[in-house]
């Protein structure tokens, strides 16, 4: 019973972290790529892509000797990646969004519209934004995406309860995502700024991973004693 509640709590927190990170990524990227709907689209796609691949990988892994500590390890690695991100994300974003002499200086008469207006529309950088998003947030999103099927596998004990168990795990994960989205946009952006949003999520995930490993050890101890 306790273990199953713990699994639901885990999936709630990892679901919250996914959306909290996504909101933080919008903030980070708009400073470099502009406040543009194609940037939002790029980042949403990166997270969905990570979750999709993660779900498939997590599902495969869950069929091979599932254990609580392995779920903890997945979340811890994700947390460590996020923890490190503020140390290199600005350099990567700065480089990817174009710098200094990237635009021609003396453009002019060669780009006129029909009325003679000198007008220049540089190509959009949304592909660069998509690539940078995948580079920075793809792996963390993938690892968090692994958590859901893995947790479902641990949660469900009997084959006849697969539907209910999987539904519960995914539902709780999505409720966590709502809390992550609202909490970040309503409060965290004002309270701590983007860098600390990333770090808080990272610390939360690492602690969660440690707690799962400890729970695993405890259960093993009990089983050995019995």
């Amino acid at each position: 019973m306790t273990m199953r509640l713990g699994i639901l709590a885990t999936i709630f927190i990892s679901g919250a972290a996914v959306m909290s990170l996504e909101m933080a990524s919008f903030r980070q990227f708009s400073s470099y790529f502009g406040d543009d709907i194609s940037i939002w689209g790029s980042l949403i796609s990166v997270f969905l892509g990570g979750l999709a691949i993660g779900a498939m990988a997590g599902g495969l892994l869950a069929d091979r000797r599932p254990a609580l500590w392995k779920l903890g390890a997945i979340l811890t690695v994700g947390g460590v990646l996020v923890l490190a991100m503020p140390f290199y994300s600005e350099t990567v974003l700065d480089w990817a969004s174009g710098k200094g002499n990237d635009l021609p200086k003396d453009w002019g008469t060669d780009s006129q519209d029909a009325s003679g207006l000198i007008i220049y529309s540089p190509p959009s950088k949304h592909w660069q934004a998509l690539g940078t998003g995948a580079l920075l947030f793809g792996l963390p999103a993938l690892l968090l995406g692994m958590a859901s099927p893995y947790a479902a596998r641990l949660y469900v004990r009997e084959l006849k309860h697969v539907g209910g168990g999987v539904g519960l795990v995914y539902g709780i994960s999505t409720l966590g995502s709502i809390v992550g989205t609202l909490g970040t946009s309503f409060y965290l952006v004002a309270w701590m700024g983007t860098r600390w949003i990333l770090w808080s999520n990272a610390i939360g995930l690492v602690l969660l991973g440690a707690a799962l490993a400890a729970a695993h050890g405890l259960r093993r101890g009990k089983q050995a004693a019995a």
């Binding site: 400073s31 470099y32 406040d35 969004s97 174009g98 000198i118 529309s121 950088k125």
Partner: protein
């Protein structure tokens, strides 16, 4: 009970009600106006609205409060909105401006004014939305000129990706009724500063009808970046212009107003720039503001806009 009839009566009633509501909304909202253009762009719902009685044409984004731009149809080169007149004080603060950058084209009031009165100035205009450029050409008499160039992209990305420098940078980029957050931060204002020639300056339009914590945080951000800062209150319009200058010496009110007189000599601006400088001039450099500058990392602009400000404080500036 015949449910079928009940349902049909309800459906008919709802339809009639909605129709009446729609007609009432149309009548209430569009009294004495003619909508010339109303279309969704990638960024906004752009509307061009004429007020025939006043002889005005306005650019409106979405249903936001206020207008982006206003033009008197008979006198398109007039600066109709108060804030755009105050912004022109920037041309008098700089001793000899040659290169000017405007971020945010809108209805093109400032470009028309500069093209008419200062045809020798090199004017670069950055506008995010290509449809705004088209609307400006079609409805706001924005025309080609040898010294005018338009760049269609985000203002911050342009400044970052181009090495072009300017004597005067005019910031007037609004998404409806607010400046996008990435154009408010210390990193952005420093980027603007890095694209100024020696002695250059920036003038930034702030529209905050009810001053709030964001307003003061933004003033603090400019104050923390530039050696000289000034703040003009544009009458009761709710607009403020923040000037940030690289000049070593502060400009006195009289000197600035006298240069405005020289600048206007022999020209018909349609308003008295020197008198405007005299009435709106205020130094910001020496004021103490109880806010932290906004940064890319922490700029909760939407929260700060809803919080009451502490305002200016007594004492030395930070």
């Amino acid at each position: 009970m015949n449910w079928k009839i009940v349902f049909m009566v309800l459906a008919a009633g709802l339809t009639v009600g909605l129709l009446a509501f729609w007609v009432a909304c149309q009548a209430a909202g569009e009294e004495n106006t003619v909508v010339r253009y109303d279309r969704e762009s990638k960024y906004y719902r752009i509307r061009v609205v004429d007020y025939p009685k006043e002889g005005r044409r306005c650019l409106v984004f979405s249903k936001s409060r206020g207008v982006q731009s206003s033009m008197i149809l008979e006198e398109p080169d007039q600066l109709d909105l108060r804030y755009s007149r105050s912004m022109m004080a920037a041309l008098a603060l700089h001793p000899a401006p040659k290169q000017v950058l405007l971020v945010g084209l809108g209805g093109g009031s400032i470009p028309r004014f500069i093209q008419k009165h200062f045809p020798d100035l090199h004017l670069d205009i950055v506008e995010l939305d290509p449809d705004v450029v088209k609307v400006c050409q079609e409805f706001f008499q924005f025309k080609a000129a040898p010294n005018t160039r338009v760049i269609v992209m985000d203002g911050r990305m342009y400044l970052k990706r181009s090495s072009q420098t300017y004597d005067v940078i005019l910031l007037d980029a609004y998404a409806g009724d607010r400046v996008p957050f990435h154009l408010t931060t210390l990193e952005f204002v420093r980027l603007v500063k890095s694209r100024l020639n020696a002695g250059g300056l920036v003038a930034s339009n702030l529209w905050e009808p009810a001053v709030n914590r964001f307003y003061y945080a933004e003033l603090r951000t400019y104050q923390a970046t530039f050696p000289q800062t000034y703040l003009f209150k544009c009458g009761d319009s709710g607009n403020f212009i923040v000037f940030g200058s690289l000049a070593e010496q502060a400009a006195a009110k009289d000197g600035w107003a006298k240069r405005a007189e020289t600048l206007a000599a022999g020209k018909v601006f349609g308003f008295n720039l020197a008198a405007l400088v005299r009435s709106e001039y205020a130094r910001l450099t020496d004021r103490r503001i109880a806010e932290e500058p906004l940064t890319d990392d922490k700029a909760p602009v939407d929260t700060l806009r809803h919080e009451s400000p502490k305002g200016f404080e007594e004492g030395q500036p930070q």
